[in-house]
């Protein structure tokens, strides 16, 4: 366990040492800040409060920003270790591969949550400022469910990005691969969920689409099916990463 925390500490250290973290933070915070200002404008014009929480966590802009942002966070995780040769130095100590993969995943997840912190603050401000009597206001439960959704979707995306990074020693390839996979799947599943002709395809799209799930989460609907789905897929990608790191040594 102490090895895990040493690795996690090192991951966070390296993450916050890299300029890319601050570039990502700048753009993501600009995006979420702009989103909040726009949302306040909408509310001022008399828009229903029910959409407030939804737009806060799952506006289309945010949904499609994540497939860009997350590969930028995850690209260095294994690709850099490979390039520097430090993977060999790590794996000839007491470190076990699953421990390493989990520490890298946890480190990226912590940074991802830091990215979302301002949004949680905005949500709190909005919640504090609006009188409870206003009907239809997204209550604390909806905000909390939205936050859970954000972490679940982020966790899955990070595990995909980490898997991509485990495949190569080039950060660029890891980033582009992660982006292609995440953006492609997010877009095609959202299209399927909302505009497929056949009922079956539409149901399938809604079942898998992170966009559709985020809409649910941020309405306060925590569906155990989607929770299980996110956890399962994230676990699968982490397991695959472990296998790749172990296998690529030989």
């Amino acid at each position: 366990m102490s090895v895990f925390f040493s690795l996690l500490k090192k991951e966070l250290y390296s993450c916050f040492c890299s300029p890319i973290a601050y570039v990502v933070m700048f753009f993501f915070w600009a995006l979420t800040g702009g989103n909040f200002i726009w949302l306040l404008g909408q509310l001022a014009q008399g828009e229903s409060l029910t959409i407030a929480s939804q737009l806060m966590f799952s506006g289309p802009l945010l949904t499609f920003a994540l497939p860009v942002v997350i590969p930028l966070i995850t690209m260095r995780l294994f690709a850099e270790e490979r390039k520097l040769g430090t993977l060999e130095a790590l794996l000839t100590t007491a470190v076990r591969v699953p421990e390493l993969v989990l520490a890298k995943f946890a480190g990226a997840l912590v940074f991802y949550v830091v990215l979302w912190l301002p949004v949680f603050v905005y949500a709190y401000i909005q919640h504090a400022l609006c009188p409870e009597s206003v009907s239809g206001f997204p209550d604390g439960g909806a905000l909390r469910a939205g936050a859970v959704g954000v972490v679940l979707v982020g966790g899955l995306y990070i595990s995909v990005g980490l898997f991509m990074s485990s495949l190569t020693s080039s950060q660029i390839i890891a980033a582009i691969g992660g982006f292609a996979l995440l953006f492609g799947s997010t877009l095609s599943l959202a299209l399927l969920a909302y505009s497929a002709q056949s009922h079956g395809l539409r149901a399938a799209g809604q079942y898998y689409s992170s966009f559709a799930h985020m809409m649910d989460f941020s309405r306060g609907v925590l569906d155990s099916r989607s929770i299980v789905m996110y956890l399962t897929y994230a676990a699968w990608f982490l397991f695959a990463s472990v296998r790749v790191v172990e296998g690529k040594r030989s």
Partner: protein, 313 residues
Amino acid sequence: MIKVSGVTKKYPARLAVDNISFEVDRGEIVGFLGPNGAGKTTTMRMLTGYLPMNSGSIEVAGFDVVRQPQEVRRRIGYLPENCPLYPEMRVDEYLRFRAELKGVQASARKAKINEVKEQCGLTEVGKRIIGQLSKGYRQRVGLADSLVHDPDLLVLDEPTVGLDPNQIRQVRALIKQLAERHTILLSTHILQEVEAICERILIIKDGRIVASDTEENLHRKLHACSIIALEVQADKAAVLEHIDGVGGMDVRNINELADGWVWVEVEADSPDMRVELFNLAVAEGWSLRELTERQHSLEDTFVQITQNQDVVQ
């Protein structure tokens, strides 16, 4: 300390290590030589448990590398090729991180880190960022890392590659100093390094161990004759004729020098034949200003073994 038996490693396209066996005793310093691509790094990686092997077994301090990898890793200090480090970390932070990973007790960590820093001459640079250090210092950080958990065995893969002559000398002195307390397996291309440090030499070629012995024994096995160099003041043709006339001696090289002296290199059955050469010079009335036995260099031996000589065990 190390017992390698019948180890084979296949990569998809080629056979990297072909059924090698060797042993290293506790306290020995062994130089691991071979041309590029001969299998040195692969062997070291299998030894440290980084690479799995296809067949055979490796024991380090009595523990099996495959079945008891954690026990083995605790006993090996490994400096991989090119000395990989995290450039963004400070020296102290890096050593602390590595000490944590290697399970150095929290209470002993600080003292241990200070000890290896002092040993490797890093006391002054503890607060510096690794990426800004010179290559020589980075190499020392790598060495300090390999020492931080007080291992019995040090496995060093080309520890002086890419250093300037002064840095090479410093790192070499450091390794020599470490040899007092550790068993060392050292791979290198610099043969003077092996001559200076190692007690025994292992030579690997095309994935097979082709030689394993002390330097002197290798020379003796490979070079049946001695080489004697002499410089005399005499006629070149006369020198050639007279020396060839002595039994058990052949002129290998003869040159007339600018100052009129003649330089001769003779292959003789034994170094003692210098006496005969001296007597010859006296008898012929030649002035003599040099008469020495030339040492075979490790380089000659290495080239001979890796290019054309059959197995010397």
